[in-house]
């Protein structure tokens, strides 16, 4: 198990190098001079050249990239062209805000999705099943920013129960969470439904029925627990989607998260901030995936056996080869 975790952690290195290389390459091919951008349109050519020299922009791209990666390893993600502040210090508080929204969204999406999925499975091929399908597909089909504006219109403009923008109060988190969460309901519903239907058809469920267990006990005690394994896996993978969705919605809701920070930085061609933001999100996502994978192994003992037996098989093969 420890080896598995170490292996996964080592895999982070090529992933992050790949992400940073791609974004760094984009920076070099995108027109516009960062030095000119920092100094403004009124700066003289001499001043711009001096700034280029100071920032090392005249060095070969590979040198700039290696220098950047060396900085990242030491916790230096660069300095924002716009504010002159370290990128990491700007992103850190925003990361917390984005994390709250993402986790809230996943909780809302999973709760509603599982609930609808169970309902759909229990009422399979009835009108309830169809209605659930329509509702969940609806929220998946409509773009999130449209849902966002509709939610603002209902809850802020008409009902005056939630703030339209900003997160000055905890109530401000509700709409962004709801908006991202609703878009993932369909996924959870489908997985829960199919998983529940599969489990409900298993022999041990039939045995439970034969033993006189109540339907509620069978559904929620025996079937649901086993049906939740693929759902839990999809929760992990949907975290990434939620972070992506949150980027757009943070802009609409005026939420000071990493997504809005990156979007603003892109429009301002503030490359260190874009690069830093993207890298930090990539790190967060890969770490989350790792945690999710480890937790699956904890939840589902079969996976643990697979990992351990897998490595045992490899060991045996090596020993055989050596002999």
């Amino acid at each position: 198990m420890v080896k598995y975790i170490i292996k996964r952690l080592l895999l982070l290195i090529p992933i992050l190098l790949g992400v940073s290389a791609i974004i760094f390459a984009l920076k070099t091919v995108t027109p516009g001079d960062p030095a000119r951008q920092i100094l403004g349109n009124d700066a003289t050519e001499e001043q711009v050249e001096a700034k280029r020299q100071e920032l090392g922009l005249n060095d070969p791209v590979i040198v700039q990239y290696v220098r950047y990666i060396a900085g990242v390893v030491h916790g230096d993600f660069g300095t924002s062209y716009r504010t002159g502040e370290p990128v990491l210090s700007e992103i850190a508080p925003r990361l917390l805000t984005s994390a709250k929204i993402t986790l809230g969204a996943v909780a809302i999406g999973a709760f509603l999705g599982i609930l609808l999925g169970i309902l759909s499975a229990l009422k399979k091929y009835t009108w309830v099943d169809s209605v659930v399908l329509v509702i969940s597909m609806f929220f998946q089909s409509v773009p999130e920013f449209v849902v966002a504006l509709v939610l603002i219109m209902i809850f802020a403009v008409k009902l005056h129960v939630l703030p339209a923008t900003g997160i000055d109060t905890p109530l401000g988190y509700i709409m962004p969470m709801l908006c991202v969460g609703l878009s993932s309901v369909a996924g959870y519903t489908r997985i829960t439904r199919s998983s529940m239907l599969e489990v409900l058809g298993e022999d041990y469920i039939r045995t439970a029925r034969a033993k006189g267990q109540t339907e509620n006990n069978i559904t929620y005690h025996h079937a649901l627990r086993n049906a939740m394994i693929p759902v839990a896996q999809s929760v992990g993978t949907s975290l990434g989607n939620s972070i992506g969705g949150g980027m757009v919605l943070e802009t609409v809701f005026g939420v000071p998260g990493v997504g809005k920070y990156i979007v603003d930085s892109i429009t301002q061609r503030n490359y260190p901030s874009v690069l830093g933001g993207a890298l930090i999100i990539a790190i967060a996502l890969t770490v989350i995936n790792l945690i999710v994978d480890i937790s699956f192994v904890m939840i589902d003992p079969r996976l643990k056996t697979t990992i351990i037996s897998g490595s045992a098989r490899k060991k045996a093969k090596k020993a055989q080869a050596a002999a």
Binding site: V142, A164, T165, V252
Partner: protein
């Protein structure tokens, strides 16, 4: 089974209907535009008949009351610094906030252009480049010290060092500035321009004391934590990415006009629709920088008050006259001018709230406005345009390119269609801001729409045609000029007599017309959406909000 399918279909239909119902405000508003638009629009229409020619800006009576209420103003983006002059920046949002915190020596009456007393009670030109100011004796700075001429000299030092590359520092001769006594200061300028006085009313020329800046931790720190100045409001808090909060300055020298609201909160929301909905919901009282194209929708919405106003800047279509460019041929330029439907362009550019410009200056700037074209001269003449193209050797048509930001694309589309009628294929390159700046600087275009603020004869006036500028920082323009034109503009800027200056500018405009250097398009507009009961929209500089002037009806 059929019944179940029917239920499923019905539920799907209900979902769609509920969605349509949720989004019905916009469509309702559009409907209301025709049904009850006259009532809503009359609010702005009445304002539009004022001398300023503005739609709802600078026309309210000033407010003298004070309350403990808070006003929330939604801005599109967050500034990187509040005191821009301290770090060489001129961001629009920063200017708006800075204006609340710092007073300038003079202000301008936005309806007449008249320079008015502020921190300075009087001023006198000592010679062409030196002006002596007498300071008020009842002004206290942030730390409670009295304003002195040393504070002005210190501020000048900041402008000329930290903002040397911007208009804030470019025209001040720091060596020529002296504190004559505690309350008298002489400011030296390195260029002759009587209207530099108007420029001193811009918020970047705010006065700070050295003691305040030192206490704030130096220039860099004070730019972001500006406990400085003597303005109507004091800086309270900056929640990064969220809001900037200011509180009324209880020691403000002008007790009658100290700010109606106790607290001003600026919030930052990129999405214009979300900013406007924040006003509709009551979370905010003002949504600034709304797209003019959406103006009519908000005017028709009776839940909000909409201000649409011009601010002294006409949009101009410039022809690149650099050697080798197709548009360096005057006949081609004239053909394009004849082919353009200026009325249609004005409709699109101002959402119907402005009309085609007949001069280089806007009609608001009555001091310098000359009508250089008649309405008849602005009529579309396709046959005349084709004939000119033929004479220029382009009987079979030609291809041109233009560059612009996202907001100019609709106008370029109109021009594109107009030019298609005379066989000219126009390629529209919509760029992001940094790329636009780079391409427009380097003259990588045939046509470009760029406006110029002409509410005073700033030293930058008609900078597009000054030889010293055209290859440096000027964004757009013809990228070519003549010594005669260059000198004439310089002389008009230096002219002390307003009437003579207006005539000089009229002559320059005639030269520009005769040479077809540019085509005047329409007055550029700002749109602000406010709460129904909000009053007192005043503007500064380029039509930016004066956030201190709002009050409730």
């Amino acid at each position: 089974m059929k019944g179940k399918k029917l239920i499923a279909l019905l539920s799907a239909g209900l979902m769609v209907l509920s969605m349509a119902g949720c989004g019905s405000t916009a469509s309702t508003a559009s409907t209301a535009a025709s049904a009850s638009g006259s009532a809503a629009a009359s609010t702005t229409a009445s304002a539009s008949t004022t001398a300023s020619g503005a739609y709802g800006a600078n026309v309210d009576p000033e407010n003298t009351k004070k309350t403990d209420e808070t006003i929330t103003i939604g801005l599109a983006s967050e500034p990187s610094a509040i005191w821009g002059a301290a770090v060489g920046k001129t961001e629009n949002e920063g200017q708006i906030i800075q204006n609340c915190l710092m007073d300038t020596l003079v202000t301008t009456d936005r309806t007449t252009g008249e320079v008015k007393a502020n921190l300075a009670t009087a001023w006198e030109w000592v010679d062409d480049t030196h002006c002596k100011f007498t300071l008020r004796d009842d002004v206290t700075m942030n730390n409670g010290d009295k304003l002195t001429s040393a504070d002005v000299i210190y501020s000048i030092g900041v402008w000329t060092s930290a903002s040397a590359n911007t208009d804030t520092g470019r025209y001040i001769d720091a060596a020529g500035c002296t504190a004559d006594d505690d309350k008298t200061v002489t400011i030296g300028f390195n260029t002759k321009a009587p209207d530099l006085l108007s420029m001193l009313a811009w918020s970047n020329f705010g006065i700070a004391s050295e003691a305040d800046v030192t206490a704030a931790g130096g220039l860099e720190a004070a730019a972001k934590n500006p406990l400085i100045g003597s303005g109507k409001y004091k800086f309270k808090e900056w929640k990064s990415g969220q809001s900037i909060t200011l509180e009324r300055n209880d020691n403000y020298w002008n007790k009658d006009y100290a700010g109606y609201y106790k607290t001003i909160v600026f919030t930052f929301t990129n999405d214009a629709a979300a900013r406007a909905m924040a006003v509709q919901s009551g979370d905010a009282q003002i949504a600034y920088d709304m797209p003019v194209s959406q103006g009519a929708t908000y005017v028709a919405n009776t839940e909000v008050k909409t201000f649409i106003y011009s601010f002294g800047q006409n949009a101009h279509l410039w022809y690149n006259m650099k050697d080798g460019k197709t548009t360096s041929n005057q006949k081609v330029r004239e053909a394009i001018d004849k082919a353009i439907d200026f009325d249609a362009l004005a409709q699109v550019g101002t959402a119907g709230y402005g009309k085609a410009a007949l001069g280089y200056f806007t009609e608001d700037t009555t001091k310098y406005y000359n009508q250089t074209y008649t309405a008849e001269e602005r009529a579309v003449d396709v046959e005349g345009a084709k004939k000119l193209l033929e004479e220029a050797g382009y009987a079979n048509g030609l291809e041109l390119t233009c560059i612009g930001l996202q907001d100019t694309t609709p106008m370029y589309t109109v021009i594109q269609e107009n030019l298609r009628a005379i066989g000219v294929t126009l390629t529209i390159n919509t760029l992001d801001t940094p790329q636009f700046v780079q391409d427009s600087n380097s003259g990588n275009y045939d046509l470009i729409i760029v406006g110029e603020l002409t509410d005073a004869r700033y030293p930058t006036l008609m900078c597009f045609m000054r030889q010293a500028n055209i290859d440096t920082f000027v964004i757009g323009g013809p990228k070519a000029t003549t010594p005669e034109l260059d000198n004439a503009i310089g002389a008009a800027i230096e002219e002390k007599d307003e009437t003579a200056a207006k005539k000089d500018l009229g002559d320059i405009e005639k030269t520009m017309k005769d040479s077809m250097i540019e085509s005047n398009l329409y007055p550029e507009m700002h749109t602000v959406v406010g709460a129904k009961d909000i009053m007192g929209l005043k503007t500064i500089e380029r039509g930016f909000l004066d956030a201190t002037s709002f009050y409730k009806a």
